[in-house]
Symmetry: C3
Subunit: 408 residues, 3 copies
């Protein structure tokens, strides 16, 4: 630290973000079914556990383990201690211990250790809370984490629910707006998976009512042909470009912040087509309305996302998914997020799903890596001690509290 | 440092580039109007100052400050001391002090502290020097910085000036070549903003004279309709693809190095379309002529730019804009510039504009971050002490002196 | 290192990978002709040496040296000591010493110092072994390196050889499959240069036999017109999209791992079109067959490549070329490779060609930089000591041994 830099002492304890309570601005339900349930995460075998951790959905080839990765190492580092094992314990020992404790106890410990104050839960995948449910959703998660839970409503899920209600194509547009208003009555945000269902090479304009009706007619017919909801083939999912734009614009008009999946995820997307830079025409079209757009994940396009946040007032960036998945590299990736994005537009989340491990890894890795990054910048004279404290609180909690009005 | 590495002592003082005089190979005029002038940078309010610093042109949303960023922190770090404040002083205190000193004194101090020996000023935006002017351009900047000033002529500005002279479409091509020759009589380089006005997805060939005449006719008519120069709407700017190619090729034929805006800037560009890798066909078309092409800024495509510099003899890379805007991350970004680009093709500049702060931040952050990078490489045994000294002088000054022949 | 992290002592010596024997999973012949031979690498002049090192094929402009680069510094660092010079010796002194020793002795020393146990040699460029040959290919290299050599067969070269044999267009498809089977009888892998010859924007499907015949007819005719094999113009190379797909699919059907050039190389490719992310449709089409696809080089798209390896079971990533060319930045780039790619899918290679220096730089820089990276992750508590040892051995050798079955 240059001696002429009036920094004072670094706040938040000596190390990475101390016990700053985090707002998890984008996450999903966790499976806590008992052993034997379909897709149980309680006594999962190793292959199943590995796939639930990352974005792969098929077994690794012979000789390869998905857990031999920075992600796997991060799970063993952060999640073993709350289960009573030393950090870095071998995965097989970890899974044995996990099975002994049972899924509910494991989830309770891991969520409890994550230090979250608010959870914004995208309920569009995973199950709902309930006495008989094997899933923890908004209420179950909030209770286990000792946090406040709020819902994020997935725009496409509302449309698919509406489709199954027997709506007529001609009524689809109005009925969707009504259904969205109802579904989001207590929601903190809406979420778009346009990136998965089509990619960002879309006409940025609102579709006309006639376009919506024509597209809805076609989609509802295909969906009906595909049969009952339980067996809906991917071809009957909402993937029509005009309808995707329609639900996105409906979300924009709803006025709540719109979270958009951008960047990597599972193989169901085409990576080059979810580069957030491709959203620029849509960003400009939305600007007049003023609705905030939150770019989720972003990796490996975090620099492009940061630029959008730097030049468009209503664009925000969320580091969820990315920070947990890249483990030891989280600091380097977070630094790239910060290159252009103002700190007031950057937000923490875990994007956790299915496994409670993803909550703790996301939170602990962020706390550790972002804390170290800020500390290094302070040591090198780039930030003052007061900057470090403000930025940590902004990115970890306050930006999300303000943007999603979650104290209201 | 490995003991078997024959390094000797690190030159240039103990730390980052000591007081190496830098050649600022691409910069712009600074506004030094007195309080009350339109767009005054003297007693600017905080919002205005923040927007002038970065690439945003609209107010930040409630709760967000563009200065809560690595850029803002860099300004407080590097610019506060020359104004008599401690490094890292709060921005409000900095702006108060700035207003007390007045814009001319502030600009004089910041430019004086930047340690520049030459300034290559793109005069295509900002005002001209003059007794009554609120701007410092080539002469004013050079005088304040105690440096030698040379002009960089913006190709599109010459075309727009010609258009306002009443030229006939049929004469446009010849008249442009004459006007460019005249405008560049004492210039060090020309500059293209093809990236802003169209993007790099262009036909790389020279347009025919017939194409130019047809395109000029259309453009001159639209420009006339748009009315007097003072009220020219953006639709009347030079943005026709054939004319943009024509002015670029005229610049190539002029023989001076051609600086090209690539990578990020303000929202007036589409980020994916200014990836310098897209210039490859144009780079190849220009190669036979031999005119050097300098890729400015490049971020976040600095690796792509480095590859072009590594495989095409006539391609150079300029780190301006990027180094200042990413503050604490400048070292990491500069390292990426260096991955493939030969050191003899890499050049420093500030790309400063309007605010004198941008001169000092660009220069001081480069000096600090590139110096540290070279020192770390020396410590790790990657470069010898002699390498470090040579590379620092090459990138900071000598490459630009040779390429732009600015001592001539 | 956090005190609660049960790491034990770091294996592999104190520093970077000690003397771990490496499997070079992708490399090329080396020229060892005596002074005076065409293209001699023995007593090369400095300009020639510089171009052979990197990816440039034309002289650098006045005042610029390609060896003033991280690559040039890495050569002086790693290759000077085996020639009896201090690390970092000036290049002119290095070249003098090189000429004194003669090309065979230089190659013997550099290959010997690289510490390679297996060499997988792409024989598609460079000369073949033989008493009168100026080239070391599979046998010559293996002998000099004291390693086991295996061949990698270039799919396009087999097609071009077949074309010169006078095959009829109607027989081309069958004859190619036969020729490939014969050429690969003892091969470890096949290699595709689709990226160079067309780019990845191709129809992912197998071409029909009729398409192949039509395309072969056209190509064979053009090739015949271009004259004897010695003077084949680039227009007569295999570059037809349908034929390129056909040879790639024939390689896939052959069942050996398919190595694909992706990312940077010389100027003969268009960088944006070799982004491995563009291969996603092809990757999915190949998945049903199960043939492993190995993405070579990848830079600057190593993050995109890592994602493909994380979500597609049959996709692997090879760090060759990149690690050597970026010198001091190899650690940062390797870290990006590791962000998503499972360690079991990441492989070392040198991609060395023509100059023996490229073997040693590739191997030594990898050993040094990957070793430091693993050590830093261990120090920071990201990996355990056991993880470090396993990952080093996997990436440096065992993944390639398993994937290419080279012990068989």
């Amino acid at each position: 630290m240059p001696s002429d830099f009036p920094l004072g002492n670094l706040p938040l304890g000596d190390l990475p973000l101390g016990d700053l309570p985090l707002v998890d601005a984008h996450c999903h339900p966790v499976f806590v079914g008992s052993p034997g349930s379909a897709g149980s995460a309680g006594s999962v075998d190793r292959g199943e556990f590995e796939r639930m951790l990352g974005e792969a959905d098929r077994p690794a080839p012979v000789g390869v383990s998905y857990a031999d990765s920075l992600l796997g190492a991060a799970v063993r580092r952060w999640c073993a201690p709350p289960l009573g094992l030393p950090a870095g314990a071998p995965l097989d020992r970890y899974l044995d211990r996990r099975a002994d404790l049972g899924p509910v106890e494991v989830a309770r410990r891991l969520l409890g250790a994550a230090g979250l104050s608010y959870l914004l839960v995208d309920t569009g995948i995973g199950g709902a809370d309930g006495a008989d449910s094997d899933w923890w959703s908004v209420q179950g998660l909030a209770s286990a984490a000792d946090a406040v839970g709020r819902e994020v409503v997935r725009l496409e899920s509302v449309a698919e629910g509406l489709a199954d209600s027997g709506v007529a194509a001609a009524d689809f547009a109005d009925a969707y707006v009504d259904a969205l208003a109802k579904a989001t009555r207590n929601a903190a945000a809406v979420k778009s998976i346009l990136g998965y269902r089509h990619g960002f090479d879309v006409d940025p304009r609102r579709p006309s009512r006639a376009e919506v009706t024509v597209a809805a007619r076609d989609w509802l017919r295909r969906r009906q042909e595909a049969g009952a909801a339980q067996s809906i083939a991917s071809r009957a999912r909402l993937s029509d470009e005009a309808l995707l734009r329609f639900v996105l614009w409906s979300g924009v008009d709803r006025g709540l912040p719109v979270q958009l999946h951008t960047g990597f995820g599972d193989r169901d997307l085409r990576l080059p087509s979810v580069n957030p830079a491709l959203l620029q025409p849509m960003v400009e079209a939305v600007e007049a309305v003023g609705t905030p757009l939150v770019l989720l994940h972003c990796y490996p396009y975090q620099r492009e996302a940061g630029w959008l946040a730097a030049v468009y007032p209503h664009v925000y960036v969320d580091v969820g998914l990315t920070v947990g998945q890249v483990g030891a590299q989280a600091g380097a990736v977070l630094a790239e997020f910060c290159e252009l994005a103002p700190f007031g537009k950057l937000m923490f989340s875990t994007d956790a799903y299915r496994l409670a491990e993803r909550y703790l890894v996301g939170a602990a890795q962020f706390r550790h890596s972002f804390g170290r990054l800020l500390r290094d910048w302070w040591r090198d004279g780039d930030l003052t001690a007061r900057d470090v404290e403000r930025v940590a609180v902004m990115v970890g909690a306050d930006n999300a509290r303000r943007l999603y009005a979650i104290d209201g």
